[in-house]
Symmetry: D2
């Protein structure tokens, strides 16, 4: 099925494998007139690019984005924007030993069962490199949303047990450390922890968080295309994500109604909220306040320890995974999550334009 | 937008408001030849029906399902199945006092902003009664999946801080207590806790869990229509759900790769897993083992305490919500979650039929 | 598959069989704030209602529409509008003799092959009564489009060889004769011809035409969701339609570029066209001028003559179709075509709102 | 909107402008295990490639297809297949004079109105070169359908008034003349006619026809995703197509029921039809016999005569179109139509697999 397409009005279709000719995305439905350059996309790709720190795979890829269509004289034309990133360092010999057996925690077995065979080189389509297409698409969605005053901050909230308390979050720090943590002190602790992981031939998980400001009230479509439901799918579609929560999330389950309800207050003609346990979404529709969403990311499944597994011919065996792998996925997933949030919101924001007759009449009569 | 439609091949479109003429669903794409009666649907509706216990709203509705189309001589015909549930006890006078002000924790404000006005009677479309349509649709999806040997167990895992440990879960108990908890002892503790909530004019949240057995490996479409991503959307689309997790979920974030990876083992020609931290899904595709998914449900926002809020004309006010409300939503959301899981899996299971050329050729040559 | 859903933003899902409990439609994505009553829908249903003239089936159905949801205090709320029409005169004994054999020109054989069996009573889902749902949905779309100044005229252009020349079309006549022809004189000739058909136990075909004024330029999405492509699908989805053309249609195939191109002229700051061979659509996008679309409708397949056919068990047999059937389908298909055109245009008109960044910024900043 | 995506399960997303970096397609949902090489795609592209005869634009493009993903060791993997065709001969100076004015019969004005500006070089996205993506996608769909025994013959049925009678159609001739006519004698007459057109600085239209054999009965989804409705949209989405008909098409409108009904006959346990006026489709579902579909193609709008038109600033002007243009579009549209038919049928054929419970149970139990 066409599982590589995302969105209804603002829509992307991604393609590409870890060790194929390249990866890319077709962005369809981006409004005409948006200033767009390769740099806008490259900035996003650089945030997920490998080889940048000790805590990310050392595969060396420039991941240079090329825009092949949909932009004319510096502006989007309303027609599909095709973005191409060519693979350079494919070093497929590293993966020869996993051709015949299934890596634990990976999609090798499930792909083989579903499709009858698989492109085993570097995980093929199930590789983390798959996210290049959606990250490029998200960069365009972000540029579009910024023109409406919408801002994103996405970062690593925790790695292993090292969790940054609300009060210690400092957005300025996010780009100051290679883990994209909003507190350099916690980032240093996390790096120490990751050193231990590497020493133990092990890997770590963590939680990423995305906060979004400036979203107008009214975005999200009851009852199945709710904003929170769509964001949950967006985040859970990122490989290695195992949980998603909005606002207080799982903590709300052990709260009470009197604690969890956000009171509404009128101040000088403006609506304010006494708190934001809801994370900016009520009934699946944005309420105009900050949106908060978190995702739990599992530890990198590729570890250097010996693991028990089976071969394609169902023989028991053991496996040591060589190659270049991140000891933690979270930092590189941060930009992917931001991309997915932006794509989701861009789509629902365009869809929301048709919710009220009076505004449609205004639109067509001007 | 058409936010009330769910699914691609097996698709439902729901409709109806809390205090309108009725609620219902059109189920399109259900395969022909499935034996189906009103009873199959009624069994599901009865699990979410109000007025059944002290811990659920005392609104009295029979919620009788009528099948209006798509079934002939006891079997589905492959054409749309229309199910209607007529509203009886509409008692709209109870809601008169919320016509002009916005209830905290409800969608009143967001609906008004999005649509310009709202059907304020009982929450209109944002009422919990909206789930009647999807529950009826899910009943049909479940019947279809059962014919393929797929089984669901869905239950209340926790209420407030009362959480049932893995080892104490007993499926047989689920239908033995009005909270749908898989342990009668914990259910009693939860009931005591709810008594306190009621006494305090407050409400409680909780966690529901759905485990699914018998799903063939291969279900789910990379990279955006993954099984886990689709289930996350399905669950998060249920009103009051604020978080979703698969397998170990958020716990995986503080685990390590060596702990979290599930080893594969071959035993007498069968594939087994040494553990199931992944919750039955790898790379977004089912691996043939048990699928586990949990959702965090916030406390009922309608509480009898006085709350601060604003009117439609932006004046500060206070509100006491009368009417009939559940002190906890989880037990009645259990069947809704099962319905959404079934709808999601039915759809992806049908879509998966087109994944392999050899099987398509077999299909059309027989 | 979910073949009974039509549209992306303005979307309908229809259901119902000829001899089931009833038929209906769920209209989702209709903007909030549209005044809507049962009368708006009834007016459309009455135009396709049986039993109104000698040239339409004498089955007697009131076809009363009931609105079950989505309208509050006389206005649409933005939530799904469920419309129900209950069947009354089901007289299924008439159809007993076609249970075991396949009627030529009908979908009996194809339904049986596709679904394994069929609801044979009156054609089941393949009956002309299926169009009740889409007609009701189209009535709502029309009401919405009228509020934007868009007007439809739909009529029978020809029956058999009796074709009304362009210069003899008079919109005022359409509702003055039971064939919905825009010229009473030609209508009389057509009635005489139909008398002959009835006498010969035969039936007639014809062409219907829909002209639409007031559509703003810019509607339609290149390259697959073009306005003309979408209209073609809309019309061809009506049972018995075998051909569709836009503007000059098939006549353009034997024209030349110099004849067929419509020149553009500027008059007092307004754009005009020297001709309208294109039928108001260029590159799949409306150009602001009148849209013209025609559909060829085959003769009613149910005829009183003896016909050769086969039984379900593949035995040769002959069949005489009793029951109540239209000697010509075109007049009753007129309103169905108008409904489909309105649904198509409503959807694309809403989608077009997201085409330009400047207009989106205006929309959200006001 | 995402108008550049086509299909539900077998889905393509196309991109590219006449004078951009290139054009291409992402094919998603192609079943895994199909042998596929660049040659399979190139064969289709070569049939629409410019510069091949006197009657097609002399723009010189190799139109070399590159497969960038989705194929591994010669077989499709079930993941998206990205195909790229780089533009070489872009000669944009030819189009400088149409930057400021609107060509009659082209989409210049409608694109400018919809998007606020346009890529005027060679028509941008509204150029005939847009069809490269869909043709490449259709090549893959055709390869897939051939593996199921489905065969296509597509050809020019008429140019101007030169129409080949049924009895003179000879499939063997199709590839023997540059007009893709199934009769070399008529092709010669058409060439003579086109010479006159060129001499008169004019252009011609025509009709293309596609016949499809080997389609199993049961393909097509009532009531909106009917096979004929979907084919109508597919064909009408091709630039310059103004009409579509199935089977007898418009001729059926002046036929009678007794003439137009196809009788069913049983011969040695096989179902046969006494005639095929229906063109192989009843009730929107294939009946197992030959499918016939025709499209009317308007004359090339780019002609060398002086034409009246307006500038972007609404001034009257006259225009002579230089550059390289086909005197007739039909021959190059033939392969595009075949591609669209194949894409449509591939999608509906996969969707049909979910129509019957018994067959689904068989599928998953084997």
């Amino acid at each position: 099925m066409s599982g590589s397409t995302y969105g209804t009005i603002f829509r992307i279709s991604t393609w590409g494998e870890s060790h194929g000719r390249g990866l890319g995305v077709v962005i369809d439905g981006c409004p005409a007139g948006l200033p767009l350059s390769t740099d806008d996309i490259q900035r996003f790709l650089d945030r997920r690019r490998p080889g940048q720190s000790r805590y990310a795979t050392r595969r060396s890829e420039a991941d240079q984005a090329e825009i092949l269509s949909g932009v004319f004289e510096g502006y989007t034309t309303g027609t599909p924007i095709s973005v191409l990133v060519q693979n350079q360092d494919q070093r497929s010999r590293d993966y020869g030993n996993i051709k015949e057996c299934y890596r634990p925690g990976h999609a090798d077995y499930t792909f083989d069962t579903k499709y009858g065979f698989r492109d085993y080189r570097g995980g093929g389509r199930s590789s983390g490199r798959e996210t290049i297409g959606r990250t490029a698409g998200g960069a365009v969605a972000c540029k579009f949303l910024e023109s409406l005053g919408i801002q994103f901050h996405t970062y690593t909230r925790s790695i292993g047990d090292i969790y940054i308390p609300e009060s210690d979050i400092c957005f300025d720090h996010i780009l100051q450390n290679s883990l994209y943590m909003p507190n350099n002190h916690y980032a240093q602790k996390a790096m120490d922890f990751l050193e231990d992981c590497i020493k133990n031939k092990d890997s770590a998980g963590g939680i990423l968080e995305c906060v979004i400001d400036g979203i107008p009230a009214g975005i999200g479509e009851p009852v199945f295309e709710k904003l929170d439901a769509s964001l949950a799918k967006a985040f859970m579609s990122i490989g290695a994500v195992k949980g998603v929560e909005i606002g207080d999330g799982f903590a709300a389950a052990s709260s009470t109604g009197s604690q969890n309800n956000d009171s509404l207050i009128s101040r000088e003609g403006q609506i304010q909220k006494g708190s934001n346990h809801a994370g900016g979404i009520l009934g699946g529709i944005s309420d105009g306040s900050r949106i908060t969403i978190r995702a739990a990311v599992k530890p990198t499944p590729s570890i250097a320890q010996e693991q028990h597994t089976i071969t394609k011919s169902l023989e028991n065996t053991s496996l040591v995974i060589a190659g270049r792998h991140d000891p933690v996925i979270v930092p590189r997933a941060v930009v992917v999550a931001e991309a997915m949030a932006a794509l989701t919101i861009a789509d629902l924001l365009l869809i929301n334009m048709s919710s009220r007759l009076d505004r449609i009449i205004d639109f067509y009569n001007n």
